[in-house]
């Protein structure tokens, strides 16, 4: 999908007649594209809001391209880790639709606060996909400028970023940047496990009290490492929002269209001054928690297979084929682009230099510190003492 602000509601030719209009199905789960690739025209969520998307064919193809690219780059990163080129990798496999759907729903002026798994959102923000690989390779701690791309640094400490997102959103209010179509909004990403953290619950309180223009976007991928959802909650996560006084909704996180529609609506509500909301994107972590993890210790193959049938990409492909929005040549071209970009990614990762050790002393303080100056000087002298030796 083109950069910028896609997925408008009125532009261009609409893709083919929609297969059905559904008020049926699971009322608790907003879905616009079934696992079989059946398009649902619009859905009225339990919140009474009617969700629909109205993409041009070009835009549908763009979403498909995003999904495929994001998955391919992720697979390449996993392979690089297996070959010892990355220390660890947290794969997004299975969560492409949740990330591309929400990532594309962001408008240029919106700010995102990710965890460590939002490589798909990062991609949608226009950040070079090599950036997170530096962090996981161990050469830096993430290299992009959060303000330039409106995408904060990855946050590994579970839940912490939800408070940062809330504070940022409070700042938008203070700056008077809500209430119009080009108002600003914030999205905070976090997992199902994170919902147990104090920080996340405090963020809910703050966001409610201060009417923060933001969306809490929970990717419920059913696990926090080995712990299944039941270890974190007795009720569906989206229902938590009610207790904090703002709306919550569950969307099919493997449905890029529904995720887009729900996120776009929530962000627009926020930017218009209607405060926070919680989206639970119901999805599944198809791979291991990270490359260090062994999921066979805690989940069974049949569960994974059941989710395989709900794959976020194959349903878009089925839809594009059925509606003749894309042909074989298009799919081949996307695959070829994905292959090229992953090869390119690999080449650049292999060429990533190790940092100069002395750079570890940089940037600790904006104003520096005499203690560090001293340590840096001693360190340099010490390192020089090895030069020319066999060391």
């Amino acid at each position: 999908m083109a950069k910028g602000d896609p997925g408008g509601t009125t532009r261009g030719r609409r893709a083919a007649p929609r297969s059905r209009k559904s008020a049926t199905g699971n009322p608790e789960l907003v879905q616009l594209l079934t696992p079989e690739g059946e398009r649902i025209d619009s859905v009225t969520g339990p919140d009474g809001i009617e969700y629909r998307v109205d993409f041009t064919d070009e835009e549908y193809r763009g979403l498909y391209r995003d999904l495929v690219l994001v998955r391919k780059l992720d697979a390449e990163a996993t392979a690089l880790q297996r070959q010892g080129e990355l220390g660890i990798w947290a794969s997004l496999l299975g969560q492409e639709a949740a990330q591309v759907g929400s990532g594309r729903a962001l408008r240029t002026q919106d700010m995102a606060f990710p965890t460590y798994r939002e490589h798909g959102v990062l991609y949608c923000r226009g950040i070079d996909p090599i950036m997170p690989l530096g962090l996981f390779r161990g050469v830096d701690q993430g290299g992009w400028d959060p303000n330039e791309f409106k995408f904060n640094m990855y946050t590994i400490v579970i839940g912490a970023q939800t408070l940062h997102a809330t504070g940022y959103a409070m700042g938008i209010n203070m700056d008077g940047k809500t209430g119009t179509d080009d108002g600003e909004a914030v999205i905070a990403y976090f997992g199902d496990g994170a919902t147990s953290q104090g920080d996340v619950n405090e963020a809910f309180v703050w966001a409610g009290v201060f009417n923060a223009p933001m969306v809490f976007f929970c990717q419920n991928n059913q696990y926090a490492i080995s712990e299944p959802l039941e270890r974190q909650t007795r009720i569906p996560l989206y229902q938590r929002a009610a207790g904090f006084g703002f709306p919550g909704i569950r969307v099919d996180g493997n449905d890029v269209l529904a995720t887009y529609a729900v996120t776009r609506t929530a962000l627009d509500n926020a930017r218009h001054g209607q405060g926070p909301s919680l989206i639970e994107a119901y999805t599944y972590r198809m791979g291991a928690h990270t490359t260090s993890d062994d999921p066979t210790r805690y989940r069974i193959a049949s569960e994974v297979e059941a989710w395989q049938a709900k794959d976020p990409i194959s349903r878009v492909k089925a839809f594009l084929e059925k509606q003749q929005i894309a042909d074989a040549a298009f799919f081949a071209e996307v695959d070829e682009q994905a292959r090229r970009e992953s090869v390119h990614l690999r080449e650049r990762v292999l060429a990533m230099p190790n940092p100069e050790p002395v750079t570890m002393f940089d940037h600790v303080y904006p104003n520096g510190s005499p203690l560090l100056d001293e340590q840096r000087a001693q360190f340099s002298k010490y390192m020089e003492s090895f030069e020319g030796s066999a060391h």
Partner: protein
């Protein structure tokens, strides 16, 4: 006679198992400690054998883990809390410092919190940020907490059981980079006869310099001592084992003989454990010292990216460099 060769990780696992067997009030709580057996497998198999009422996968919230463990302790349980990585203990810091540490004092001794907080700590495993930290000074600085660290499988096996049996709240620091190192463990020796928990120990005798270390750096110091011996220098290595309370009797005795001391830890130096050791040794051994007490530590930066951690962490060369500097004074 059951002396077995175990990894440090397996020795901890075996010690935990023994504690669960011996006292029905002992429970384990933490993230992923059940089915998964912990991300380092230190609790491997324990939920299977003792059930999910005693080996509890908790919700993902460290403050919750420690806070509820306080309540369980008041109720008569002996919780062993696993913090998954050093960098994730901070959400629980308030509970540890303000609640766990002070209960006994505030209740004038009516309440004890016999809690063990296990933390895999330190670097050297090539991890991403927040997975390689050395937070010991934060805890050792807090009255009401005890802080210990094991450095070899035998100590791991014994010390974890002693810590669980103790009525003090204890922060138990596990040198994660040494989890896979093997050593003999005597599985039968009665706990009552074991070397006391809060005692340092000379792990290599020497005459020329005293090296003081704990946890992961004990191995580094032993390697340095081996290397130095080839050059004709005999380094004495002391494994402190307990950081709060510190046991420095062996250190004083040693430094009075050697006249030189080097403290080695991964944690940054500023206002750290090494500073305390240097001050105390200087006070106690002033007239025996041939040179100032030197420190070999991590630098006062955040823990850096993995590809430069080798340069950040004290290693054999930096220890020997400090030994040279001590002699060159």
């Amino acid at each position: 006679m059951a002396t077995e060769t175990l990894t440090l990780g397996k020795a901890l696992n075996t010690g935990l198992r023994r504690a669960l067997e011996n006292d029905p009030k002992v429970i384990i709580m933490g993230e992923d400690v059940g089915k998964l057996g912990g991300v380092f497998r230190i609790t491997d198999g324990l939920q299977k054998d003792f059930g999910d009422q005693r080996v509890i996968d908790t919700p993902l919230a460290e403050s919750g883990i420690i806070g509820t463990a306080v309540g369980l302790a008041i109720r008569g349980y002996r919780p062993i809390c696993e913090i998954q990585f050093d960098g994730f203990v901070y959400p629980a810091y308030d509970q540890i410092v303000s609640q766990v540490a002070k209960m006994h004092y505030r209740s004038r001794g009516k309440l004890s919190i016999p809690m063990v907080i296990r933390i895999p700590f330190g670097g050297g495993i090539g991890a991403v940020e927040h997975h390689s930290e050395s937070p010991e000074a934060y805890f050792a600085h807090t009255a009401g907490l005890k802080v210990v660290s094991c450095a070899n499988p035998q100590d791991a096996y014994v010390m974890i059981q002693q810590a669980i049996a103790s009525d003090d709240p204890i922060v138990f620091l596990e040198p994660k980079r040494r989890y896979w190192e093997k050593g003999p463990v005597d599985l039968d020796a009665p706990l009552a006869d074991a070397y006391p928990l809060h005692s340092a120990r000379v792990v290599r005798p020497g005459t020329d310099v005293t090296l003081l270390a704990y946890g992961p750096m004990v191995r580094t110091c032993l390697d340095a001592a081996t290397a130095a011996a080839e050059d004709g220098r005999e380094l004495e290595v002391i494994d402190l084992r307990t950081l709060s309370p510190l046991d420095l009797s062996a250190a004083y005795e040693s430094v009075k003989r050697t006249g030189r001391a080097v403290v080695v830890h991964e944690a940054p130096s500023n206002i750290g454990i090494g500073a305390e050791l240097a001050a105390r040794i200087t006070e106690e051994c002033f007239y025996s010292l041939e040179s100032p007490v030197l420190r070999v530590t991590g630098f006062d930066t955040p823990y850096p990216a993995a590809r430069v951690e080798e340069e950040y962490l004290p290693d054999l060369d930096r220890v020997l460099d400090a030994v040279d500097r001590s002699f060159g004074w």
